[in-house]
């Protein structure tokens, strides 16, 4: 079975956000770029399935500028067999444009499973996986925190308010991964060496018309300075008083 894992290169979660001169995008200066954390769970699950099935192919797929190939190399080092880079020099295509470009490529690959992280930790949209499923007419388990495959039947669980939904799907299907789905592996030295010889195929991304227009990126107003109400247990009555009388929250 072919599995496709769609990944995104994002700023590390410790990044302090600075706005670029255009007032609409992140200033990339000094940013450390990493594989989107949720994509790690997607990659891991695809690799485990390939291992369980004793064969098949895991193809990493991404959209972005020249710099994203370092992230594809990391996914190859984890164990993906090959990678496809859909090239665009637009700084941040909108989710539907991304979904269209990815769907066209995924359709051609005819995978049994297409994997995504539940959202990218940069724009936090959380749309692309479900959109790809809809564009391709595939069933989708979004935000999966548990996954099992038997034959062509998938059982997945997703967290909802106050509980979990259990879904059953038939392959081919799309799954987007939530933290907790599994414990992702680290790249081995052998994997890192092997990745250097694996193929990254580059082609233009078919993004189509934009569907959202980013007009501004702004930093949130800083919170007004608070105050230390006191030290230790003695401060508790004062804390309760201010929460009740000033903040009026209890």
């Amino acid at each position: 079975m072919i599995q496709v894992v769609c990944v995104k290169q994002v700023p590390d979660t410790e990044t302090r956000v600075k706005v670029a001169a255009d007032g609409r995008n992140l200033d990339p200066a000094g940013v450390t770029w990493v594989l989107n954390p949720y994509d790690e769970y997607a990659v891991e699950q695809a690799l485990r399935i390939r291992e369980q099935q004793g064969g098949g192919e895991v193809v990493a797929l991404t959209v972005g500028g020249a710099g994203v190939q370092t992230t594809l190399r990391n996914v190859l080092a984890l164990g993906a067999d090959r990678a496809v880079h859909l090239r665009t020099d637009l700084p941040a295509p909108d989710p539907l444009a991304l979904a269209r470009a990815l769907a066209a490529e995924i359709k051609a690959l005819e995978p049994g499973l297409a994997w995504f992280g539940k959202q990218a930790v940069d724009d936090d949209q959380g749309q692309v996986g479900a959109m790809v499923a809809e564009l391709l007419g595939l069933p989708c388990a979004a935000v999966a925190c548990a996954f099992a495959l038997e034959g062509d039947k998938v059982t997945a669980e997703r967290e909802i308010e106050g509980g979990r939904e259990v879904l059953e799907l038939t392959l081919p299907a799309v799954v987007t991964a939530e933290k907790g789905l599994n414990e992702p592996r680290y790249a081995s030295l052998k994997g890192i060496m092997a990745a250097k010889k694996k193929i990254i195929e580059e082609k233009p991304a078919a993004l189509g018309e934009p569907n959202l227009e980013v007009i501004a990126l702004e930093l949130p107003p800083p919170r007004a300075a608070g105050r230390i109400v006191g030290q230790g247990v003695e401060a508790v009555p004062e804390l309760v008083r201010v929460l009740r009388e000033e903040a009026k929250v209890i």
Partner: protein
């Protein structure tokens, strides 16, 4: 032009978070000059006429036995059919687990732009502008929509419902041709978490613990405080990664972004990825033994001290208020 709102129901009950979306729809409809129309998929009418109180002029009901629980394919068809019938300027969803799942499917089907987890909507020069936190709240992105309808999901606990208008909404059937058998994904079961707790994203009050709790066994202290405050328990990434608490409780950039009325951070130093997820809380209280901890830079009120003494005393004091 009209504003369409997806009305979410579980177990035959309209979820209260929809009232927030209806409230915002009412404000937008005033600016754009059109009615507020709801669309609901359910097995039978969950009392939709009462949503007139929350601002709906009319609600379209797609009734089907298969719609008792969430059916992604069927609900998508229902919303798309409503869009085709109503031709709204905007379609609003709650950024709940259901709304987050459904909205992208509808957007893909309509070929429409979707902005998720919005914290404000505005009409500027006749066009809709959505503001949404990005990088888990480290920045705010403003987006416009090149075409109509504009789709947006709204972060829970941010938008105010309208006060009761003393009227009822007209409920009209939405006829769908829906083939249940064609659906290749089905929700087969909903497993409830214990205690009927309010989800973090919808909680009014959150009590979160970090590495300063020293071990999973000490979270009982926070559960007591949470019970006294009517709060939901949250956790930092460090304690989730250590396996002390489940991921569903994680607040921050790889967990949940929350905006409660009161956020109590206990034994949390305040890593940037945690602060990103909770700085939009209305009031923040921090308890930490390190006076230099970054959490005190965002806290409205802080106590420097040993949490193992402060938290039980705080719990006692809150219980006394209630007594």
């Amino acid at each position: 032009m009209s504003i369409l709102v997806f009305i979410e129901q579980r177990d035959g009950q309209v979820r209260s978070v929809c009232r927030e979306a209806l409230g915002e729809a009412t404000r937008l409809a005033t600016a754009l000059g059109g009615p507020v129309v709801g669309v609901c998929a359910a097995a039978s009418d969950p009392g939709l006429a009462a949503l007139g109180e929350a601002g709906a002029d009319k609600v379209l009901l797609a009734a089907h036995a298969a719609f008792a629980g969430y059916d992604a394919a069927g609900y998508t068809r229902a919303v798309v059919a409503a869009v085709e019938a109503v031709k709204p300027a905007a379609v609003l969803f709650s950024a709940s687990s259901m709304g987050r799942d459904l909205a992208p499917r509808v957007a893909a089907r309509l070929g429409a732009g979707l902005a998720t987890d919005c914290v404000s909507l505005a009409v500027e020069g006749g066009r809709l502008i959505a503001a949404r936190p990005v990088y888990a709240g480290k920045a705010l992105q403003k987006v416009a929509f090149p075409r109509t309808p504009a789709l947006a999901s709204l972060r829970p606990k941010v938008f105010a419902p309208v006060s009761p208008a003393g009227r009822s909404a007209a409920v009209e059937p939405l006829v769908l041709d829906h083939d249940v058998a064609a659906s290749r994904a089905k929700v087969v079961r909903v497993a409830a978490a214990g205690g009927g707790k309010v989800d973090l994203t919808e909680a009014e009050v959150i009590v979160s613990g970090g590495r300063g709790m020293k071990g999973p066994e000490h979270f009982a202290l926070l559960e007591d405080l949470a019970a006294a405050l009517g709060a939901t328990v949250g956790a930092s990434r460090a304690v989730v990664d250590a396996g002390w608490r489940p991921h569903a409780e994680q607040v921050g950039q790889t967990g949940k972004t929350v905006s409660p009325k009161l956020y109590v951070a206990v034994g949390i130093s305040g890593a940037i990825q945690h602060l990103a997820g909770m700085t939009s809380s209305r009031c923040i209280v921090a308890v930490n033994k390190d006076p230099e901890a970054p959490i005190f830079k965002v806290a409205d009120y802080g106590i420097v001290g040993d949490l193992f003494e402060v938290v039980p005393a705080f719990t006692q004091a809150v219980r006394k208020l209630g007594a």
